[in-house]
Amino acid sequence: MIRIDGVTKRYPDGTVAVDRLSLEIPDRAITVLVGPSGCGKTTTLRMINRMVEPTEGSILLDGRDIRQQPVNTLRRSMGYVIQNAGLFQHRTILDNIATVPRLLGWTKQKARARAAELMERVGLDTALAKRYPYQLSGGQQQRVGVARALAADPPVLLMDEPFSAVDPVVRKGLQDELLRIQDELGKTIVFVTHDIDEAIKLGTKVAVLRTGGRLAQFAPPAELLSAPADSFVEDFLGADRGIRRLSFFPSRELELQTEPIVAIDAGADRLASRATAPYLLVTDLDGRPLGWSEPDRLTAGAVEPDRLLDFGRPFVPGTDSLRTALDGAVLSPTGWAVAVDGEGRAVGVVSQQVIGEAIRAAHGRVAEQADVGAGR
């Protein structure tokens, strides 16, 4: 475990970057440091690998002061990923990744074999091994940066705004990839970002820092959203924290209705039996949703798929959150969300009202748990 203990960083000109910060960073989890610029998050991260030395206080790694070992030994035991990747443009991708193993004295052959293994792990085609950084896209370069940090299998990974410089689509891919790698490897990751959405998505625990380097709140993301410590945290979370909080509630308990689902080849009597529903969801012959229609606009045997109403974005009950379900319902002109299975076949529909009730129920459960937790 990394323990930051009463750490202050004051520069000679009097600027205080970090002010008496104490944090216990849990093992094998992602801890995100987030805050506006000038909040000392990067300085804090850089103090963990001694790129910056604290003015006061100490940092302990597994109970030992990090100053007790040679600085380069410490740094080689911590993967380091920075914004823009910071790749060595004169070295091939493979040799970039092999940097730390080579510093540790591995043979070139062994280091390269390890590097090739890591390229696969981070989702890079090994055909890129002999390329140079300028031949890669920003997202690929950042994957190389992550692979390079993981090369010597360090227990700790320090990531300084690693995904800030890539476009949102690539960023989402990199975030998902990081979560997947973390599931496999279970590293102790300290991740710095200024993007609260990224912090909430990636963090097991999130430390919100305020300008001047003071800790505002240190909590799991769901708690951050439900109980921000003060108005600074609340403002920093943004206007729609209620909606974003729904990401932490599963959609699996939503009561789905199957009656309003009809296949495109449904006969007249079947259509007639469903005529009480305000809308019917028409599916193709495999059960994949095509669109909504009012019952009286459907004629058996003559359904025109182009004239159906858009069904929004469907959600998968087992894996998606209430946020995705609600989003689907809001996007759909009928106000109903469509639930699908892994193959995209409709398994049910659910109205905004039912989702609303589920949200209230979920809030109730959280409040109950909080009461139990507080010993009441």
Binding site: R46, N49, M51, V71, N72, T73, L74, R75, R76, Y80, I82, Q83, N84, A85, G86, L87, F88, Q89, H90, R91, T92, T99, V100, L103, Y132, P133, Y134, Q135, G145, R148, A149, L158
Partner: protein, 222 residues
């Protein structure tokens, strides 16, 4: 007679191709002076440029040294050194080195300074010792610019090394100085052509060195 005829007359005269005043001797003398001066200048300019560039300090002092070095007239310096130090190789080397150090020093400093700071930060953060950060991260990226500083210095040395003849040394300057004195314009033109040819050959050598030593990753992205 025009310049080409002079040159042709000079090079076709068999007497110019052997003996202590023959082209091969003068040419190798010239190359030798130039190489010596370049090596001394590089031995001074490269380490100082690399270290000041790496630590990002001393830029103002360097600019001052460079301006002063460029302002000194080589020929004046040669005469002055000759008067002070008497006959010897030293009065020749000093002006050549003074001429060559500023471009090497300033370009090397600028080359290292202008290396993208993020790979350097990444290298340090991964636990790379400082000397390797300089030699394995900064220098390979700065190499094209460092080589261009050396190239400029080398060309200036090659053309200026002709002044060695003024204080009775050899080299291709011999033909120019003697030719002027003897009003033998064939000789003057021949010597000048050889100096120009050597300067072009120097360019070719630097082009080849850069092809061999600069990583394709730097060459293509630079």
């Amino acid at each position: 007679m025009n310049v080409l005829n002079f040159a042709h007359a000079f090079f076709s005269d068999g007497a110019h191709w052997h003996g202590y005043d023959g082209i091969p001797t003068r040419f190798s003398e010239h190359v030798q002076y130039s190489l010596e001066a370049l090596l001394i200048a590089a031995a001074i300019g490269l380490p100082v440029g690399l270290l000041t560039g790496h630590y990002g300090r001393g830029g103002n002092a360097l600019a001052l040294v460079a301006t002063a070095g460029r302002a000194l007239p080589s020929f004046g310096l040669l005469v002055l050194m000759f008067i002070w130090l008497g006959f010897g190789m030293l009065p020749v080397m000093i002006p050549l080195v003074v001429l060559a150090v500023p471009p090497i020093l300033v370009t090397t400093y600028e080359a290292v300074r202008s290396v993208d700071p993020s790979p350097v930060d990444a290298a340090r953060g991964m636990g790379m010792p400082e000397a390797r950060v300089l030699l394995q991260v900064e220098v390979p990226v700065a190499l094209p610019l460092i080589l261009s500083g050396l190239r400029t210095a080398a060309i200036q040395i090659v053309s200026t090394a002709t002044i060695a003849a003024y204080i009775s040394f050899g080299g291709l300057g011999r033909y120019i100085i003697d030719g002027l004195y003897q009003r033998d314009y064939e000789k003057v033109i021949g010597g000048a052509t050889l100096v120009a040819g050597l300067a072009l050959a120097t360019l070719a050598v630097f082009w080849a060195v850069s092809r061999l030593t600069v990583s394709p990753g730097v060459r293509r992205s630079g």
